[in-house]
């Protein structure tokens, strides 16, 4: 019954609209406005342009004020401060260009609307003017490129030697994180060794792998460079750390990386954001299938001491999964047992 009423009323509304349209078009033929080059409608359209522009500017101004608290979250990495400043600077520049060009674009229709008494000004070109407005954008853009290029080369420069290293592997639909353990070296891997437990295909023939551990969340120390080595297991993924202004695709068969220096611990960010539940989040930004929108991983920034403490407490993969000792070559098995069980034991001493 409801459906019937909806259908009937829609038909009625459409019929009324159609009649209005017919009346309007017949009236305009009778009054002869179709014969004129420009009539009342021309005036209305002309005035609507500046009205539209001014009301849009007012709306943007007030909404931007309200929405600014959700803009770029507080940058939590060293380079993030640089790129954020650059972003707001360039945004300022383009806003000026936007308002200037659009003001003219919306004012001219009003100012120069059709009048039968006037003739347009025949003005086919002016080389000087064109050279000016070619060169000015070129100079401004050169400046902007230069700043961007400097920031970009800094961000993408090789990671410092003393960077904390971790490996993150994307798969449908979660992330797996691996730390190198005490020796500071990630064990090698082979995608053919992947199974349900050894999800990143750690190769236990490599003794660097014995103390590798796979935690459930990422911990990194404040104020120290951190190098993310990025891999993908199945399709493309992308590691996105919004607070750190960092993003890099994870590509099967082609390891990628980025590094940055965090400047606020999780606790400090809780204070800064006034949100006692604040957590750093990692998201996927390269479409990877059904669960793309749910590939969240948590990240904690600790004070360096707390980070050391946390690092020491982590249990090696081999300790948690002693079955995999069978994959270690027999002559290295004792070493593997030692390294993985004894957190005091430094591999470098062997």
């Amino acid at each position: 019954m409801n459906t019937l009423i909806i259908v009937a009323s829609s038909v009625l509304i459409l019929a009324i609209l159609f009649l209005l349209f017919r009346v309007q078009s017949l009236v305009s033929i009778l009054t002869g406005s179709t014969k004129k080059i420009a009539g009342m409608s021309n005036k209305i359209n002309a005035i609507l342009f500046p009205i539209f522009f001014i009301s849009a500017l007012i709306a943007v101004y007030f909404y931007s004020g309200y929405a600014s608290e959700f803009f770029l979250p507080k940058p939590a990495s060293e380079h993030g401060v640089v790129t954020d400043n650059l972003f707001w600077f360039i945004t300022g520049v383009i806003l000026v260009a936007f308002v200037l060009t659009n003001s003219l674009l919306f004012y001219f229709p009003y100012k120069y609307q059709y009048s039968p008494d006037r003739k347009a000004h025949f003005y086919p070109d002016n080389h000087k003017l064109e050279i000016i407005w070619t060169i000015i954008p070129a100079i401004v853009l050169t400046g902007l490129v230069f700043f961007g290029w400097r920031a970009w080369t800094d961000i993408t420069s090789p990671a410092p030697k003393d960077a904390v290293v971790l490996e993150i592997t994307g798969k449908q639909f979660n992330w797996i994180v691996r730390y190198p353990g005490k020796d500071g070296k990630l064990g090698s891997y082979n995608f053919k060794l992947i199974d349900a437990t050894n999800e990143v295909g750690i190769d236990f023939a490599d003794k660097s792998s014995f103390d590798d551990f796979l935690p459930r969340e990422i911990h990194i120390p404040k104020g120290k460079p951190v190098l993310f080595k990025i891999r993908a297991r199945d399709v493309l993924h992308s590691v996105f750390l919004p607070h750190f202004r960092q993003k890099m695709d994870a590509v099967p068969g082609m390891p990628t990386s980025f590094w940055f220096t965090p400047i606020y611990t999780t606790d400090e960010m809780r204070g800064i954001t006034n949100n006692p539940a604040f957590k750093y989040e990692l998201a996927c930004t390269e479409v990877c299938g059904k669960g793309h929108f749910g590939m969240k991983f948590l990240l904690v920034v600790d004070e360096p001491d707390d980070f050391e403490k946390w690092y020491d407490q982590q249990e090696a993969f081999l300790k948690k999964n002693p079955d995999y000792l069978a994959n270690v070559p027999s002559k290295l098995r004792d070493l593997a047992l030692n390294v993985s069980n004894n957190s005091e034991n430094k591999l470098s001493s062997f």
């Binding site: 349209f21 790129t83 360039i90 659009n102 229709p109 954008p137 902007l144 961007g148």
Partner: protein, 614 residues
């Protein structure tokens, strides 16, 4: 000398044409397998509009999901069937909708619909030719497009759904049916459809290029071509150079999918097994794809800019400002469009040095774009502006082009792109500068040339309502997306609820969805106007906009061969509007300089004298 040869062959053409004038074509040859460029243009136009409705409807469905994540969508079940589970859109189908929306809009609406319609319709009419260089290839071009469309349409109805890896179809996702359902039969159909689409596009482009070079009427030098033709010509050249690269990308992907090769695949473990593929590179695909993909942006945009140049000049009653600069900037954009593709790949793991190079090249392209925007504005300065619906849409285009283009300066900056890549900021940027701007060019073209296409006028008042609704609507939909993007929201997300970082702006997302639905509904005003006016619109006159170009010298409904008598000769450029001294505010291109001594400029007077001496 060459002009003489040309006019000679043109005369021969006339004679040849006259012999066949009274031969009636069968219905099928006249309306279906037609070789007449005007009919083919209308075929492209109507196909493009149908696809636009489909592509738009898809965006409305996924906007429902984004704007009202908790809503019960059970009522869509009669249309979407199993893709609605427990009142929710299936997340894979959400991705399929996003993918199809992009594919349809970019290729079927804004490439085939826009270029196909207006290149076909306007090239012969504006350069003074009886038809395209090859009517037969032109017909093939449409029917290849039709087959391609049919395959894509079929893919919407198969059990595993259409392709769902995004319109860029990056492998390995698009190569592995295990990874997503849409990479099964849906992807196969997508690839076949696109391969055929490329054939169609190449046939069309080659024809446009040949026609513009060879069939210009006497006097129609390249420096007298309307800017529409320049834009179509350059667009066709870009298409010929870039579409084959997409074809190769698609072909290699077909090999990887079906014949076990490893062009794009390496070290993959999926579905509980390690695949045999070693040594391929997903980045290779991205390079090949964007080598087309970026020029494609200009394939979509340049025709719209050409159309706008013509309409703004005509309705400002002024010559286009800086005709040669406009051509120069078209050429500049076209050239640069081939060397900026990797700005889509700053964070793909590509060598950062390449990132620097492509940042420089990308930002250079802003210069010719800026010149175009300034020239449009300068054309309106001290004009005598008539607001036809076409003019409104053209002004709208310039505004959208500026607004969307400016954010390109931020995205082209690789350091800033790190944060903004694949967020809604990008969505806002390209929907304004490429999607909406080109759509506005498309609409401007339809409103402007409808009288020549169908011999009747579109209703102006409905046109005004359509414009203001669409213009406000487009800004209300896409402008707020900048805010969402600056807040870091990634694109192609089914929902944002699992992240604290993306938990804000649910009200703004709802607002965008409402605006999108209203804007989409508003397009039916145009739909009604279009089909009603074809049959019942006011009768058009020969030259309703008092325009200078040659198409307005044809009869109200030009027949086969376009001009009943000889093809008009061209004696001047197309922008003699409001020339000082002239009695009317326009002088069509076919009026000889000797007929207008009162308005001739000094150098034109010399030309007249020189001709008189000969």
């Amino acid at each position: 000398m060459s002009a003489a040869t040309l006019s000679h062959s043109a005369d021969a053409h006339v004679a040849h044409h006259d012999e066949h004038e009274h031969e009636e074509l069968s219905f099928i040859r006249k309306y279906i397998f037609s070789e007449d460029h005007k009919t083919i243009a209308k075929q492209f136009l109507i196909s493009g509009l149908i696809w636009a409705v489909l592509g738009g409807a898809m965006s409305v469905i996924f906007r429902l999901q984004l704007g009202f994540p908790g809503a019960n969508l059970e009522w869509l079940k009669p249309i979407l069937g199993q893709w609605i589970q427990n009142g929710k859109i299936d997340p894979e189908f959400y991705l399929a909708l996003v993918t199809m929306h992009g594919t349809i809009m970019v290729f079927f609406v804004l490439t085939a619909g826009l270029s196909g319609t207006f290149s076909n319709f306007l090239i012969p009419l504006q350069i003074g030719a009886r038809d395209m260089a090859s009517g037969f290839l032109n017909m093939l071009s449409y029917w290849f497009f039709f087959i391609s469309s049919t395959l894509m349409f079929i893919s919407l109805f198969i059990e595993t759904g259409p392709a769902a890896g995004g319109w860029v179809i990056y492998p390995p996702l698009s190569a592995l049916p295990q990874a997503i359902k849409g990479s099964g039969l849906g992807m196969t159909l997508w690839l076949c459809s696109m391969a055929i689409f490329i054939v169609s596009s190449l046939l069309g482009s080659i024809n446009y290029i040949t026609t513009v070079i060879n069939l210009r009427t006497k006097g129609m030098a390249f420096t007298r071509l309307p800017l529409t033709i320049w834009a179509f010509f350059i667009t066709a050249v870009i298409g010929v150079l870039s579409f084959p690269v997409l074809f190769s990308a698609a072909l290699l992907l077909i090999f990887d999918r079906s014949f076990g090769t490893s062009f794009y695949l390496s070290e993959i473990y999926i579905g509980g097994e390690a695949l045999h593929n070693i040594g391929g590179s997903p980045l290779l695909f991205q390079h090949l794809f964007w080598f087309l993909g970026h020029p494609e942006v200009y394939i979509v945009l340049l025709p719209a800019l050409g159309i706008t140049s013509e309409i703004i000049a005509t309705n400002s009653r002024k010559p286009i400002f800086g005709y040669r600069a406009m051509i120069g900037s078209l050429l500049g954009i076209a050239f640069l469009s081939f060397i900026v593709w990797a700005h889509h790949m700053f964070v793909t793991g590509m060598n950062p040095f390449l990132g620097s190079v492509f940042m420089f090249l990308t930002l250079i392209i802003a210069v010719p774009s800026a010149v175009k925007a300034f020239n449009y504005i300068a054309t309106m300065w001290r004009g005598n502006i008539v607001f036809t619906p076409a003019m409104l849409f053209s002004i709208g285009l310039v505004s959208l082009f500026i607004s969307g283009g400016l954010t390109g300066i931020i995205l082209g900056n690789s350091a800033l792109d790190i944060q903004l890549h694949d967020t809604y900021y990008v969505v806002a940027h390209f929907h304004l500068v490429m999607g909406s701007a080109s759509f506005f060019g498309f609409m401007a073209g339809v409103y402007h040339w409808f009288p020549k296409m169908f011999g009747r006028m579109l209703d102006e008042k409905l046109g005004y309502i359509h414009f203001w609704l669409t213009f406000a609507g487009v800004y209300l939909v896409f402008f707020p997306m900048h805010y969402i993007g600056i807040a870091g929201f990634p694109r192609r997300y089914y929902s944002f609820t699992s992240y604290d970082a993306f938990s804000t702006f649910s009200d703004l997302n709802m607002f965008i969805s409402v605006a999108a639905i209203v804007t989409f509904a508003g397009q039916f005003i145009f739909g009604f106007n279009f089909f009603y006016s074809i049959f019942k619109g006011r009768k058009a006159t020969e030259n309703p906009w008092s325009s200078n170009t040659l198409e307005w010298t044809t009869p109200v409904s030009p027949g086969h061969g376009n001009w009943p008598g000889a093809i008009p000769e061209v004696h001047r450029w197309p922008y003699d509007y409001s020339k000082p001294g002239a009695s009317a505010d326009f002088i069509p291109q076919n009026i000889p300089l000797s007929a207008t001594p009162e308005s001739n400029l000094p150098h034109e007077e010399e030309e007249v004298k020189a001709l008189a001496h000969v």
